[in-house]
Subunit: 349 residues, 2 copies
């Protein structure tokens, strides 16, 4: 990937040299950052607010494949995946820390590329990079991100507070990121078999972007606040709709009815699923990595939300004994099962 470009070996910089190089352009955006990088710990001031903390680990060969993932996109995505957890609490994301384990195949220019994606995400979402760690890695690329945010106690949305009769809502559309991944994997296989064949991704920009450059739904948190709605429960859709619905139901001690026909699926996602011979609904239920927000609202908030193009009401919460069920397009009802991502079985299935 870097054969023909400039190559500065990290050995010559050393850890402190690399840190200094990477951190010299960091800008701070959030007033809660009292002190960012450069000391033993970052110092943050959330006076009067609750502090929110979430963390994710991204490993080469498990969470991403550098054969088709540009490093800048990867840096951007690593931040989005984490910010999404703070938004899922109905909070304001304010800081991130980014730790990198770098194998010797990465020259400085590659790390800069990755970091440029990190800093772009920080800029676009106005969050401050306040710390991290960098190290050599004997194997592949390791990215660990911790995101920090804040919220007033009254605004925080947990997973375990959905009430019977609440409406089940989801932002955006689902299944696209999974199909983007299938496309990229298919083209990689074709390329490996015959390197002369050019990748055929024409007209598939949207779902490719859903996979490579997801956007955490900060805008939905703001929209809900503008509409005067506080969700009764909320979670982000990282492992697939089915898995997230079951988290809310299980932790709230409730059941639910989900309507298949209400699940938002983009036409390109739908068409590509058909091309692959997969049921589009299954992609939405079990595909994962969409980073949309799944939330429940009281019925009295329905009028405020029903004309919002980016929010779909897809079902409602029931009592626990009824279980978590999906009513199919043909009218049959069956139990929802989480068949999402199991990182211990294989990388993406």
């Amino acid at each position: 990937m870097f054969e023909n470009s400039e190559r500065t070996d990290l050995k010559n910089l050393g850890e402190f040299g690399l840190i200094e190089h990477l951190t010299k352009n960091i800008k701070l955006y959030d007033p809660s950052t009292t002190r960012g990088v450069g000391d033993d710990a970052a110092v943050l001031d959330f006076s009067g607010k609750k502090t929110l903390v979430s963390t994710d680990l991204l490993l080469e060969g498990i969470h991403f494949d550098l054969a088709y993932t540009p490093l800048k996109h990867l840096g951007y995505k690593a931040i989005q995946v984490n910010l999404s957890d703070i938004y899922a609490m109905n909070g304001i994301a304010s800081q991130v820390t980014v730790s990198l384990g770098l194998s010797s195949k990465f020259p400085l220019e590659a790390v800069e590329e990755l970091y440029s994606g990190v800093l772009l995400a920080c800029d676009q979402y106005q969050v401050d990079l306040v710390g991290g760690d960098t190290s050599a890695s004997k194997q592949g690329l390791v990215i660990s991100v911790t995101s920090i945010g804040y919220a007033s106690e009254k605004d925080i949305c947990y997973r375990n507070t959905a009430g019977e009769g609440d409406l089940l809502c989801v932002s955006g559309d689902l299944g696209g990121a999974y199909l983007g991944l299938q496309l990229l994997e298919r083209e990689k296989q074709i390329f490996l078999e015959n390197p002369n064949i050019q990748p055929d991704l024409e007209g598939k920009d949207y779902i490719i972007e859903r996979q490579l450059k997801p956007e955490a739904r900060k805008d939905i948190v703001k929209l809900l606040a503008d509409l005067g709605i506080k969700p009764t429960a909320m979670i982000d859709v990282s492992d697939g709709l089915a898995s997230e619905i079951l988290h809310i139901c299980k932790q709230s001690g409730k059941g639910c009815t989900l309507y298949e026909e209400k699940i938002p699926i983009d036409p390109m996602t739908y068409e590509t699923a058909r091309e692959f011979g997969i049921d589009p609904t299954v992609c939405a239920l079990n595909g994962g990595e969409d980073y949309e927000l799944l939330f429940t609202i009281g019925q009295s908030d329905y009028e405020k939300i029903r004309n919002m193009p980016d929010i779909s009401v897809i079902g409602h919460i029931t009592d626990k004994a009824s279980g978590a069920n999906m009513v199919s397009k043909s009218g049959n009802s069956h139990g929802i099962k989480a068949q999402g991502w199991n990182a211990f079985k294989n990388s993406h299935s």
Copy 2:
């Protein structure tokens, strides 16, 4: 390592199963933890205090060698290394998140062993494990820890606030962790050459423990508070005394005079260094991983500290133009250079 014991494959548990299994015994200690594991983010309440955040990445083959590192010790150390950064801010460590990347060679029992060390450290230091991430890893073991703490603004000790004439102090003794590592590496080589030879670590418990089971100096933070001393600057000794002194001098825009004869070195460290034909002072200056606290205090605090057995005054801060110098036992003065750990050159040197 686990051939003869029970072996539960992580594939059969899945990510959620593993998380549930590992987190069911988590106890909470700190009143600032409003919500721990089990949601998108932890919720913490530091009302009126500043939030402190620090993070470290530990990678197999770079930061630890499983040939001689018991997993329980490794889990314990991973926490200590991170808490040390919060104490270095003169703060109270209150929460940690722990992310694990696990290759398929690790059965559940191995992960439990690692986690038992994490939980032991949490119990002994009264910090709450409030989140994390677990994933398969294609390569070795990956451990990423983020530590969170708090402090009143007036109590926080930065690195860049040392004043001219301040006394340079360090807790405990130095160089032991490095020599413990040299011993373990030597025995590993002997074992690899002849598996019938038993390791010869007799009488070396102290320095082996300095390497495998370091203790972050929470007690020193408390002692300083009890003595009514606020250090003018503070940092933890993770990369070696020389490197940390230079951080304080550079960031404070000052110089210093360090007296070689004042550097605290345990007799076993001294003796073992001689065995290896290394200068004990070099081990203290450049060895790293001691996790002691290096700090500066005003001269008026000298009387409070001078009889404390666990604190050594090793020099003083000068003006910037004088540079950072060490006066050797023979009375010569020469510039201090950081030759500490460079993770990009090799794993331990």
